[in-house]
Symmetry: C2
Subunit: 370 residues, 2 copies
């Protein structure tokens, strides 16, 4: 994770695939679902999944790209899950990849703005950060909180990233760093924002019966769901109520027969600190306006009630758009497996990972158990 | 199908969805898979599936975009099929949409070239038409045929399109028209090439037991498959042997327990006349080099042994990239239902539809029966 000027989209994805196959102990894969948003715009490559299958030596298997804005990675895991559940395939890879440096496009910001409403938002020149800045300002106004109240989210992510050798930012930060970091779109500063970067992650799914032939204690995906909301923020009754996130989480809780109290850790989509606050509220961990308090009172920390972004999250690990949702599932897997190294959370039985696209317009949620 | 300067991407997709729901007699849909390749590059809209779900009034259902270059439409139908087969959803829409006029990008040709290998083909300036021109020239050389031998494919498509009120080109053409049509990339002329256009198509899938509650004789999808080959033509042992197409067809035949002789009509991916010839050979309808003879001897005609492009195909109906694969399945459905009007083929029991992306680098095949 980082700026890999020496590696192409297919290099990154190919490496992630090969490492996953080595870990699984098999090269016998039947389908490949690639989460990616920007390859067409930034590197001139669509037909992305075939290119990745080719690079990884997996031809002639089924290969399809899945796009759901920044939730593409989560959606790719879900596509793999549906393919296994359908009975069509027994060994399926979900790969997330994004190459955001060394691009030929004028502007990564313009490319990212395609996650917003092209006709009613982006066409007026508003960037994706600016849309989130509007949300953060509105939240501060409605709930009487200050910019400083969002600092613990960023501090937590950077603190946790220090324990992740694959993270982009491994230096802890403090409140002063947060408060003095350069503004991107007021009130959002650099330390509210997950970084543009290159990266790829992969995970292999198979039926539980088959998984037991590869390892003694396979991690189970006990829920998978996707829900949507309007693409444009102006269309929402209340922009601080994130319906897609709430609907997707509710469906996942129902599938897994669990509730928010049963979740031992939550890999949430902390693309911006405001997204973390709104997500915690939409998923039932806090009342409206109380999301920031879960950060300030330490609940989201490693020893708290609900650890989040345990390997750094999007903020600390980096946010290669289409890859992030797969990273989250891999990180939940590592925690459940007890393989998270210095970032390990003790006593993890149930982990949730949620990938969000647009300004909360699409969400994909997975719940995993060991 | 055509140049819809007055309608946006979401207008087109929304109309297709609403017409399909009216036809199905229900608005109760649980998921939406959108086949699309170019919306990010041409209209500045990714997060495409959420935008379509929004436009069609389907929020907050699951919505995901599927990209597999020009096979995106077929891949979206397959995603819907897998979702139904998985048991996760019982009523699923596959929608294909592409908006290729009124775009803000400099060049549709540059956007289409992202289906080729970005690093080893497109980077050198070769267009997608030019790649197919290389194939056509090689075919003419290896098999001792002339440009004129490809004319019957184009004539057949235009002839059949005349019977399709939704087709873009409803005027029949003859050999003289074909031979005198302007060259795009020698030896490919305009009348070898499917047209850039705007369009959308949709189809609803559900379990057979449930389908019977909507209509007496639902059309069954008896096979669905996807296979891949190298993205770059230079990587192939023989560029005239289309492995992905052959593998995908072979898998579909096996699933449906049928062979080429059982196929009553074939909606193939006639983006260029050379693609039709190579496809007929790869799918087992003709020996290498004999694909063009199926056209010249009338086999592909309405009264022939294997009618193809029965409602005009990509050439006559138009080729809105991500929509074409869904159009093909809808057209196979209409023929099996006996609802193809002036384009109806008699005695159709088994129909095949195949969506191809890149220079034969990915293929999705469906076999349908009534």
């Amino acid at each position: 994770m980082g700026e890999h000027w020496d590696r192409s989209l297919r290099d990154l994805a190919g490496e992630a695939v090969l490492e996953t196959l080595r870990d699984a102990g098999t090269g016998d894969v039947q389908a490949l679902y690639v989460g990616n948003m920007l390859a067409g715009q930034l590197t001139g490559q669509e037909n992305v999944a075939t290119a990745v299958a080719d690079a990884a030596g997996l031809l002639p298997i089924e290969a399809v790209k899945i796009e759901a804005a920044c939730a593409a990675g989560g959606a790719a895991v879900r596509a793999a899950w549906l393919a296994v559940a359908s009975g069509a395939h027994d060994r399926v890879l979900a790969v997330g990849v994004e190459k955001m440096t060394d691009h030929f496009n004028d502007s990564v910001s313009a490319a990212l703005a395609t996650a917003a409403d092209a006709d009613y938002e982006a066409a007026h020149g508003i960037s994706f950060v600016a849309l989130n800045a509007l949300l953060m300002r509105r939240y501060m106004h409605d709930h009487g909180v200050e910019r400083r109240d969002f600092a613990p989210f960023s501090i937590n992510s950077h603190h946790n990233a220090a324990g992740n050798p694959r993270a982009m930012f491994r230096s802890p930060i403090d409140v002063d760093d947060y408060m003095s970091s350069p503004v991107v779109a007021d009130p959002i500063s650099i330390l509210d924002s997950a970084a543009i970067c290159d990266g790829a992650a992969a995970v292999m799914l198979c039926p539980l019966s088959e998984a037991r032939s590869y390892c003694e204690d396979p991690i189970r995906i006990v829920a998978s769901s996707c829900a949507t909301d309007t693409v444009g923020l102006a269309e929402r009754r209340d922009p601080l109520v994130w319906g897609a996130i709430a609907d997707s989480a509710a469906a996942a809780y129902a599938q897994a027969s669990v509730g928010p109290d049963d979740i031992d850790l939550f890999e949430l989509h902390d693309a911006f600190t405001i997204v973390s606050a709104l997500t915690l509220e939409a998923c039932g961990f806090a009342a409206p306006g109380a999301g920031v308090r879960l950060a300030s009172d330490g609940s989201i920390g490693r020893d708290g009630r609900l650890p989040i972004s345990t390997l750094g999250g999007l903020k600390g690990r980096g946010h290669p758009i289409g890859a992030s949702g797969v990273y989250q599932v891999v990180e939940a897997f590592l925690q459940l497996r007890g393989a998270a190294g210095a970032a390990q959370i003790p006593d993890v039985h149930t982990a949730m990972a949620q990938s969000v696209g647009g300004s909360g317009s699409v969400a994909v949620t997975h719940i995993l158990q060991n």
